[in-house]
C-alpha cells in the first residue's frame, strides 16, 4: 500500500468559484483530506443593512449569477413573510415556472457542460465539439430553451428583473407562453430523451463509491418540492422551515471562508440526490422512467450520482413547466398590482429548493421596511462538510491507484456536488448591532 501522498489541486476547474483540494497521507495514515475554500468574501451582510425591502431581492440576486433566480425567489418569500405581503395563485405558478427554467438551465450547465467532459475523457466541453458535436449542440439547445423561460417570465436569464415582493412587474402574454410550450414539447422533450440515452451509455464511467449520509431537502404533500414545503431529513423526518437553524447549525472551520453545517450527524447532503432520495415517488412520469433507465433508485448513496439525479430533474422540470403553462393558459392570464404596502414588520423566513439544494433567507425588518438583520444559509455551505467526509472515506479506498487517477476522482467528487462557491462564501450570517 502507498505510504505517502500529497495532493494540492489549486483552484479546481469546472466548478463555480475558487476552491482547492488538499489531501495528505503520511506513513500510511490519512492526515488531511478536505476542500479548501479560498473565495474572497464580499460581505453581503454589510451591504444589506439599512436597505429597503424592495431592494433585498435585487441585492441578494447578485450573490450568485448561476443561482440568481433561486436567491430572488427565496428572498421574496422571506420578505413577504416578514411584511405580510400576499401573492396570487398566478404569481406562485409563474414563480414555479421560473424555478423549472432556472433548474433546467443550471443542471444542464453542470451535468452536461462541466461534468460530462470527465465521463468522456476530455478537458472541457469545448474539446468535446469534435467527437461529441451533437451532444454539445443538444446541450446548448436545452440551455437556450431554459433561458427562454427565464427571459419570457423573468425578463432576463441572469438576475431576472420582473419578480418583486408581492408579484411580478409584468405578466407574460398568452402568445409568449404558447411559444414556450411549443419549444418545450417539440424540442426540449426529445432532447431530454436523447440526453437520458447518452447518460445511459456513460453510466459505467461513473466511479463506484458509496457513503451513506443524512439527506435533507424540502418536502410537501402534493408535489416534488421546489418552491415550498417543510424541511425533511432522511434521519428524522419533517420539521417546519422556521426550525432551519436546528437543521443547519453553522460553524467555522479554519480551511474555509465559507461556514460548514450539520444537522443530526457530522455532516449531511443537500441537492438533486437528496431531493431524489427523499421525494422520488413524487417525480412526474417521464422523469420516473428516466430514473429507471439511468439505474437511479432511492436511496442512492453514491454522491457521483448527483449529476444523474440532475438529469432526472431536468426531465421532471420540463414536464412540470408544460403542465404549469397549460394551467396558466386554461385560467387566463390576469394583470396584477404587485405594489403593496407592508402590513406588518419583523422577521420572515423563506426557503426554496435551488439547483444545489435547500436555501434559506431570514430577514428582520424595522417599521420603515429597512433590513436590520439578515441570515442566509447556502446549499454549498451545507454540503462542504459532507464533501470532506466523502474524501476521507474515498482516499483510503483508492490509495493504490496512480496519483493522476486519485486526483481525477477527487476532482470529480467535488464537481459532482456542483459546488457554488461564490454563493457559499458571499453570504455569511451575521447579527447587525443597531
Amino acid at each position: 500500500m502507498r505510504q505517502n501522498l500529497d495532493i494540492n489541486v489549486h483552484h479546481v476547474t469546472r466548478v463555480e468559484g475558487h476552491g482547492n483540494i488538499v489531501v495528505n497521507v503520511k506513513e500510511g495514515k490519512l492526515e488531511r483530506a478536505y476542500l479548501e475554500i479560498v473565495e474572497a468574501p464580499r460581505y453581503f451582510e454589510a451591504i444589506l443593512k439599512g436597505r429597503n425591502y424592495k431592494e433585498a431581492a435585487i441585492i441578494t440576486s447578485r450573490i450568485c449569477g448561476i443561482c440568481s433566480l433561486g436567491h430572488q425567489m427565496t428572498s421574496l418569500k422571506a420578505t413577504e413573510a416578514a411584511l405580510g405581503l400576499d401573492v396570487s395563485e398566478q404569481t406562485v405558478l409563474l414563480r414555479k415556472l421560473l424555478i423549472d427554467g432556472a433548474t433546467i438551465q443550471s443542471h444542464v450547465l453542470h451535468s452536461l457542460f462541466l461534468v460530462t467532459p470527465d465521463f468522456v475523457g476530455k478537458p472541457s466541453v469545448f474539446a468535446m465539439i469534435g467527437d461529441y458535436r451533437e451532444a454539445v449542440l443538444r446541450a446548448l439547445r436545452m440551455k437556450n430553451i431554459a433561458n427562454l423561460v427565464s427571459e419570457v417570465v423573468g425578463g432576463r436569464a441572469v438576475h431576472p428583473v420582473t419578480p418583486i415582493p408581492g408579484g411580478f412587474t409584468r405578466i407574460p402574454e398568452a402568445g409568449e407562453l404558447k411559444f414556450l410550450k411549443e419549444k418545450l414539447v417539440n424540442e426540449m422533450l426529445p432532447d431530454c430523451d436523447a440526453t437520458v440515452e447518452l447518460m445511459h451509455q456513460l453510466l459505467d464511467t461513473i466511479p463506484n463509491f458509496e457513503r451513506e449520509t443524512e439527506y435533507i431537502s424540502l418536502q410537501c404533500d402534493d408535489e416534488y418540492a421546489f418552491y415550498d414545503g417543510d424541511i425533511c431529513s432522511s434521519d428524522t423526518g419533517r420539521v417546519p422551515v422556521d426550525r432551519y437553524e436546528k437543521m443547519t447549525n453553522e460553524f467555522v472551520v479554519p480551511h474555509s471562508t465559507s461556514k460548514h453545517a450539520k444537522a443530526n450527524r457530522e455532516s449531511f447532503m443537500v441537492g438533486a440526490l437528496a431531493r431524489f432520495n427523499n421525494n422520488s415517488s413524487q417525480l412526474l412520469e417521464r422523469a420516473q422512467r428516466a430514473a429507471e433507465k439511468l439505474r437511479l433508485k432511492a436511496p442512492c448513496y453514491n454522491p457521483y450520482m448527483n449529476s444523474i439525479a440532475q438529469i432526472v430533474e431536468v426531465v421532471h422540470c420540463t414536464e412540470e413547466a408544460i403542465k404549469i403553462i397549460d394551467t396558466l393558459l386554461a385560467r387566463g392570464l390576469k394583470d396584477e398590482k404587485p405594489d403593496q404596502e407592508p402590513k406588518k414588520y419583523g422577521r420572515g423566513i423563506g426557503s426554496t429548493e435551488v439547483p444545489r439544494g435547500i436555501l434559506y433567507h431570514d430577514y428582520t425588518y424595522d417599521r420603515k421596511g429597512l433590513i436590520v438583520k439578515a441570515n442566509c444559509v447556502i446549499p454549498t455551505g451545507q454540503n462542504l462538510g459532507n464533501i470532506d467526509y466523502d474524501m476521507k472515506k474515498l482516499v483510503p479506498e483508492i490509495i493504490d491507484e496512480p496519483k493522476e487517477s486519485i486526483v481525477k476522482k477527487l476532482e470529480m467528487l467535488v464537481r459532482a456536488y456542483d459546488p457554488c462557491i461564490s454563493c457559499s462564501v458571499h453570504m455569511l450570517d451575521v447579527d447587525f448591532v443597531e
Binding site: H11, T13, R14, V15, E16, G17, A40, P41, R42, Y43, E45, A46, I47, K49, E55, I58, I59, R62, I63, C64, G65, I66, S68, L109, F113, L114, P123, S124, V125, F126, A127, I129, L137, L140, R141, K143, N144, N147, G155, R156, A157, V158, H159, V161, T162, I164, T169, R170, V252, P254, T257, S422, H426, L428, V430, D431, F432, V433
Partner: protein
C-alpha cells in the same frame, strides 16, 4: 487584431470577486459561442475548462479587486495580456461589492468573522482600472450578451469598440415606455449609461443603475431631478450607491 503565436487569436477569461453571472452569460451565448470559436482559441477559462496558458491576445477580466491576492494576480494577468477588457459592473466600477466601502471595514470584518477577523485579508473594493490599465470596458450587471459579442467581434476584427455614453432615458423614450418617474416610481434612468436597451423599465422595473453613471454626469442636477419627484438627497444618494459607490461623489 494581430494574431499571437501560430494561428488563432488567444483569448482568456479570468474571474475575480463577483457572482460569475457574466461568465454564465458567456456560456449562455449558445450558438454564437460556436461561431466565435471558429476565429479564436480560448486558452484559459477556469469555470469551463482545465487548460492554462502563458500569454493572451485578449484577456477578459470579471469581478472586483478585493484582496491583496487579487492585486498580485491582476498585475500578472496584465503583464501577459496584449488587450485587457473589464467585464461587468464588478470589474468596471466595483459594482454592488463596493457598497462594502461605505461601512467601516474593521467593523464589517469583525461582524462576519469575529475573533478571526484578520484571517482573511480584505481591502476596500476597487474596479480593475484602479490597479492596472484597462483597454476597454463592457458594462452592466450582468453584462448583456449583445454588447459582449459586439465588443468581442470588434476586437477580433481589429476595430475599436464603441459603447454608448448617454442616459438610459434615451433608449427608454425610443421604446416608447411610459416614464416610471412620472408614474411615481424611483428610477435611475436619467444618470445611468445606456446600452441595455432600457431592459428593466421595459419590463416595468425601475432602472437600478447597474451600468454605471454616464461620463461627466451632472450629479447635482440629477439629484435635483430626483428631489423634484419627491426623493430626499439622502435617499437619492443611497439609491445611486447601489451599483455606483465608487462613482458617486455627492455626500449625503
Amino acid at each position: 487584431m494581430k494574431k499571437g503565436g501560430k494561428d488563432k487569436i488567444k483569448v482568456a477569461f479570468f474571474d475575480f470577486t463577483g457572482c460569475e453571472g457574466c461568465q454564465l452569460n458567456k456560456l449562455n451565448l449558445e450558438n454564437d459561442l460556436l461561431d466565435i470559436l471558429e476565429h479564436v482559441e480560448i486558452v484559459e477559462f477556469r469555470e469551463a475548462m482545465d487548460d492554462k496558458a502563458d500569454e493572451y491576445d485578449i484577456a477578459f477580466v470579471e469581478g472586483s479587486i478585493t484582496t491583496p491576492e487579487c492585486v498580485t494576480r491582476i498585475h500578472d494577468i496584465r503583464r501577459r495580456s496584449k488587450v485587457l477588457v473589464a467585464l461587468g459592473a464588478c470589474a468596471t466600477n466595483g459594482g454592488i461589492n463596493a457598497l462594502k466601502n461605505i461601512h467601516d471595514i474593521d467593523e464589517v470584518r469583525e461582524r462576519v468573522y469575529g475573533k478571526d477577523k484578520y484571517l482573511f485579508p480584505t481591502i476596500p473594493v476597487m474596479p480593475v482600472h484602479a490597479i492596472v490599465k484597462v483597454d476597454y470596458k463592457i458594462y452592466g450587471c450582468p453584462m448583456t450578451q449583445e454588447e459582449f459579442v459586439k465588443v468581442f467581434k470588434a476586437l477580433v476584427m481589429g476595430k475599436k469598440p464603441q459603447v454608448p455614453n448617454y442616459a438610459v432615458c434615451v433608449e427608454c423614450k425610443l421604446r416608447e415606455n411610459e416614464c416610471l418617474l412620472e408614474r411615481g416610481i424611483f428610477c435611475l434612468g436619467p444618470v445611468t449609461r445606456a446600452g441595455c436597451n432600457a431592459r428593466c423599465p421595459s419590463f416595468g422595473q425601475s432602472c437600478i443603475g447597474c451600468r454605471g453613471l454616464v461620463d461627466d454626469v451632472n450629479q447635482n442636477a440629477s439629484i435635483e431631478i430626483l428631489k423634484r419627484y419627491g426623493y430626499s438627497l439622502e435617499e437619492a444618494v443611497k439609491r445611486m450607491n447601489l451599483f455606483n459607490t465608487t462613482e458617486v461623489k455627492v455626500e449625503p
